[in-house]
Symmetry: C2
Subunit: 317 residues, 2 copies
């Protein structure tokens, strides 16, 4: 039974990622990914992980959760799991447990991730101030963002529940799609479009609009059929998806004034990476009227690292 600095966990709406931490860094060979659906509770998932890892004694735990963090009892937004610091601490033999929002963890990872994992999407000429605010934005099961403010002392992360803001539409056609996404829900939030389910519903709506029958594709299949240019309806859905993504991240870049750059993450974003080079994305990102020049000058990268939130947890241990 070994002793380690701690346990890092990243609990998303679909998957849980876990790793042991030493010296503020993730031990790469201890990383595992579980499907949430295979466990009743987060405690069960952590317990299984610790058993497999040979019951290490963890000094502390930093757990990133896809939920607003307000106190020590957390309820997830896109999943029925709930979290209690003292219950999780018990499984860890009394270790101190700290919760972070998953995007807070991602933002803290920005200075630590392997730079070769940051793939350029837009690299404008303009010089970036070294202390400018950076933004990390991602779409997977849900959508969220966080700003990393650089301060003289400790950095600070601002995050919230961006995915629940209103999905911005600009045309009659987009409003019809908004109305489709809002059925049974009264409204369409950003993540009703910018998520895996969102991609599927955009595809379904596109088929409906064209008088075709939608096939029962998964979001991953839609992304693949779009990428390989096999199914024009899937391609159209992908283009609409990156249009929304560009518009929303342009809005968030203005709201947070993230002149230091935008980093895109999330499984669905990665699955549609090829479409970030299409004109729809850049056009929607930069169409900000008098602030077009400001937004056009912001670098955009895609973070190709599914375990970056663990890196952020380790950095805050």
């Amino acid at each position: 039974m070994s002793t380690v600095q701690g346990l890092a966990a990243d609990i998303g709406g679909t998957n849980t990622r876990l790793a042991l931490v030493e010296n503020g860094q993730v031990c790469q060979d201890t990383i595992v990914r579980f499907r949430n659906a295979d466990f009743e509770t987060p405690e069960a998932a952590i317990d299984t992980y610790l058993s497999t890892a040979g019951h290490p004694v963890c000094g502390s735990a930093v757990i990133a959760i896809a939920a607003p963090i307000d106190g020590t009892a957390i309820r997830m937004t896109n999943h029925p799991w709930t979290f209690n610091a003292s219950c999780i601490g018990k499984i860890l033999g009394g270790a101190k447990v700290r919760f972070l929002n998953d995007f807070e963890a991602l933002a803290y990872s920005l200075d630590k991730v392997d730079p070769t994992r940051l793939k350029p999407v837009r690299t404008p000429d303009r010089q970036v101030r070294t202390n400018a605010t950076r933004l990390v934005v991602g779409a997977g099961t849900g959508f969220n963002a966080a700003a990393l403010y650089q301060t003289a002392g400790d950095n600070l992360v601002g995050t919230g529940e961006c995915g629940h803001a209103t999905l911005p539409v600009e045309t009659d056609r987009e409003l019809r799609l908004w109305t489709y996404l809002s059925r049974n829900r009264k409204r369409a939030s950003v993540e009703r479009a910018l998520s895996g389910n969102g991609l599927r519903e955009i595809y379904e709506w596109h088929c409906l609009e064209s008088g075709k029958l939608a096939k029962p594709h998964s979001p991953a299949e839609i992304a693949r059929l779009a990428k390989e240019a096999i199914d024009p309806d899937c391609s159209a859905a992908a283009r609409q998806w990156v249009t929304f993504l560009g518009r929303v991240i342009g809005d968030l870049a203005l709201i947070f004034l993230s002149l230091g750059g935008i980093v895109l993450t999330g499984g669905v974003t990665r699955s549609l990476a090829g479409f970030l080079a299409e004109p729809e994305f850049a056009a929607a990102l930069c169409a900000k009227g008098r602030q077009q020049e400001l937004v056009s000058g912001i670098p955009v990268h895609l973070l190709d690292d599914d375990f970056a939130a663990l890196t952020g947890c380790a950095a805050r241990m």
Copy 2:
């Protein structure tokens, strides 16, 4: 010729407010308000103020500007004035000049303003964590917001150019209004609606929709005619305006997770204060699907202090 700690200035899209500062506090009897239109440059306005005040020697200056602050040369968004720290420093006899965004200054004022100036708009039962993030939002010549993050060390303000984010619409009728607001501009930003000119254009559009001829009212007249229930078209415009305000601040509260409260400021917001008690405002603020409860629990106040940004400047001197 006296010596004072410094000069505080708040330069908006229409008016400039100035005051002398001692011991980190605004000297109340030194506050003046100028119309920007009466001066060629901000230097001329400051020079006139200093002459009137008997040429005090200012140790430093903190100047809040309605513009994104990125470096020492600033260009306003809603006004042709530009700012250069060394040019302004010269008029001040070599005093060090620091620029803040005007909403940054407002956020820093939140702990310093006279509490009786904070008029309750919504006071939910829910207990607010003392260190929760607060949001200040205002509509005047333009629209913006800033978040005050409470940290263990110095507080931090996150601000940007929220007024340039996309105006969120949810119905066919609102999309027609969005299209009207976007004419000659390709798009309608938040501040195309949530500003004085926005109120006037919403009124014009409402008349157009009803087949009436819009009168050449100023935004202040529209607000007065709405408040006194004299003109139903002005009242309808005011209701639509607070609907947009509620929706946008609800979105911003989610984006910044400002569970510590929302403080409303700005001349146009104050002129429509009575409409914040109408059901349209609360309905739009809280209509956030699964996050309805979260947003409903956030206290909302109206800051009735036109010089609060000066208080924020003084606090940062």
